[in-house]
Symmetry: C2
Subunit: 388 residues, 2 copies
């Protein structure tokens, strides 16, 4: 831990404590939730960005009690403005290079994949990550949706990956397991990931954007459900929470953007790897609520350029992930991830040599993770060494 | 076909044509849907009952254009009143015995499992089955829900069992496949089953009813989704539609009620068998919309008595269905079902000798199905024999 803190403090991060305005807001948020902001000291909000974070104004009532980790993408000399009163640390590319040294090669540049650096540097149990073009949505009654609170509910209640419950998440208020649901499966399993959705601009690929430029998602589906074991889904990184202690090392967003042949597949990659590992280790993944308001469709032509290789590669990648099995001895996320990198190298390098590079980067990521997140025992030894 | 018709006409069924009132209602329903009641000549509504069918009054605007098959359970001497203007045929136990002869042993008595006789006797492509304590529900805007119309939409659009779409059914208006959904899977597969849900009284087992006597389902979830391949779910027979041509022979509701050690597992049994066969043959199963209004909770003590063996048996039955695989040569529903009956006998007779009886009944059911539903070629030969 000492070493980690040293590394972090050497970075040109800006870290602010809550000022009095922040405290007032925090007090009001606490008053709202009665028991205070839930998981306040156990959750970091990770935001990748290239612009001033004015979008945080709308989220102030919900986010201000929490600590933010801002990962600045693109030109590191640019100053990103963060509204007053937020408690945050900010890392730009120079910080990432300084902190990770040669291992910084595994962190993408000029792609929102850079956000996973925030997962690495966080020391909290939970992560919520959101894009800076996502705003507070309203439920059908007109009430503003506290997306973070719903994510926390999702990750704090078990998942049910082994059998489908037709009334959706049985752990939500007013719901339960229906007739015919095996009683021995009703305890559920720990939830690793909560995948939220988007009103207004749906998360479509470039071809669908081009074909349906005017389609907007107006359907509010009041459901949370577990993605069943053995089923893959397209995980979007726009509005996502996870238990970093359970699954963090699997949440690597791959090599995308600058210098890479592909973009906009960062979250998909993480989703495939994460789901296979959750299935292997017996963790759950929920999708559904909460919604955020996705304000602006990105340029479909730019997107097409970034995506087009992914669009045909995925026809081979997905069958690989659908059939991959991890050996029994892989009993930690790290072990699973290292094994997965081997299997990616063996099975996907025929698709494109890019996957050899990616498999290497997966290993580098795990090395970086272990360096910044030594396990309990290792942490004690390390701090002993540092203090001696 | 001639032989079937002969069998049917020998029954004491009552069959009415639409009278003028019916025609008026039909005209208004046609006016409502512009193109007339969809699948009017291709769908039967199957209703198992022991009482007068006053509940049909509320469904009149939606059901009257369709043909009803009423399966009267219990005392055959009792007259079931059907509101005027409905086109129906009604079968009581004596009819079933007369039509099926010794094969009638596979049709349950004093349990809603008897409904599957209606699936057998129908000659239509689609079946919608509903319980007589289910009424028209309203959507959150207060509009009455045409459950049948939504089921028809569900079965007429493809399913997506191989990959989960986070915006739910991509074939609904305003929805599509999200970014990262493989393009080669976007055609989907034929939908065999549409499983609808219930507002007000949820479909809970007796223990949950006892523990939560006041729980009501008030959550309207505006979603339809495909139950992924390899995932089982508890199929409820209360509000269910299916493509009889695709999956009919798998929709056997088992041996329940009178003379059997178990009740209230008829639909569950059908659901497990059907899902395994759909997964094998590449058909899809949807769940979600439409909702009906389930009016009255059944007696939890009576239910407990019927269910209690199922509650512990299912702990072994479900793992069996989760791991069962059908051989490649099983390329029709009938072949799959016969194979499944063998596997049930082999694997579940150790749970209870009841499963030997059930495996036999599964075979009898298929024999009865083939007799009443000869395939195209057989039908021609049969009609030739009959006319000669």
């Amino acid at each position: 831990m000492c070493r980690t803190q040293e590394l972090v403090s050497s970075a040109s991060k800006a870290k602010f404590s809550s000022n009095s305005t922040a405290l007032n807001h925090e007090a009001s948020a606490m008053a709202n939730t009665k028991l205070g902001p839930i998981l306040k000291d156990e959750l970091d909000i990770v935001i990748p960005t290239i612009r001033n974070l004015d979008f945080l104004e709308m989220w102030r009532p919900f986010f201000q009690p929490y600590h933010l980790i801002i990962v600045q993408d693109g030109d590191p000399s640019k100053t990103i403005r963060v509204p007053d009163g937020f408690d945050y640390e900010l890392y730009n590319r120079m910080d990432i290079d300084r902190i990770l040294g040669p291992k910084a090669s595994c962190i993408s540049f000029k792609d929102s994949a850079c956000r996973c650096f925030g997962y690495l540097i966080s020391k909290k149990k939970y992560i919520f990550t959101i894009d800076d073009d996502c705003f507070v949505a309203k439920d059908p009654s007109g009430k503003e949706i506290n997306a973070l609170e719903q994510h926390i509910k999702n990750v704090l209640t078990p998942s049910t990956p082994f059998f489908f419950n037709t009334l959706y998440d049985p752990f939500r208020e007013g719901a339960d397991f229906v007739r015919g649901y095996p009683f021995t499966l009703r305890e559920g399993v720990p939830t690793a990931v909560s995948h939220g959705l988007w009103l207004n601009i749906p998360d479509y690929d470039a071809p669908t954007q081009l074909v349906k430029p005017l389609e907007r998602n107006t359907r509010y589906v009041n459901a949370v459900l577990t993605v069943p074991k053995g089923t893959l889904f397209p995980m979007c990184g726009m509005n996502l929470a996870f238990n970093r202690e359970l699954i963090g090392p699997a949440m690597y967003f791959g090599l995308m953007g600058n210098g890479q042949p592909i973009g906009r597949y960062d979250d998909m990659w993480a989703g495939w790897c994460m789901k296979v590992i959750c299935d292997h280790l017996g963790f759950g993944v929920k999708t559904g609520l909460p919604y955020i308001w996705h304000s602006k469709a990105s340029n479909p032509f730019t997107n097409l350029k970034k995506e087009y290789k992914g669009i045909y590669w995925q026809e081979q990648i997905i069958p690989f992930f659908q059939t991959v099995t991890l050996p029994k001895h892989c009993d930690s996320v790290q072990k699973c991830y290292i094994e997965l990198s081997k299997l990616v190298r063996e099975n996907l390098s025929s698709v494109d040599e890019y996957f050899v590079k990616l498999a290497d980067a997966m290993l580098t990521w795990i090395e970086a993770w272990n360096e910044l997140n030594p396990s309990g025992e290792e942490a004690t030894q390390l701090s002993k060494v540092v203090s001696e």
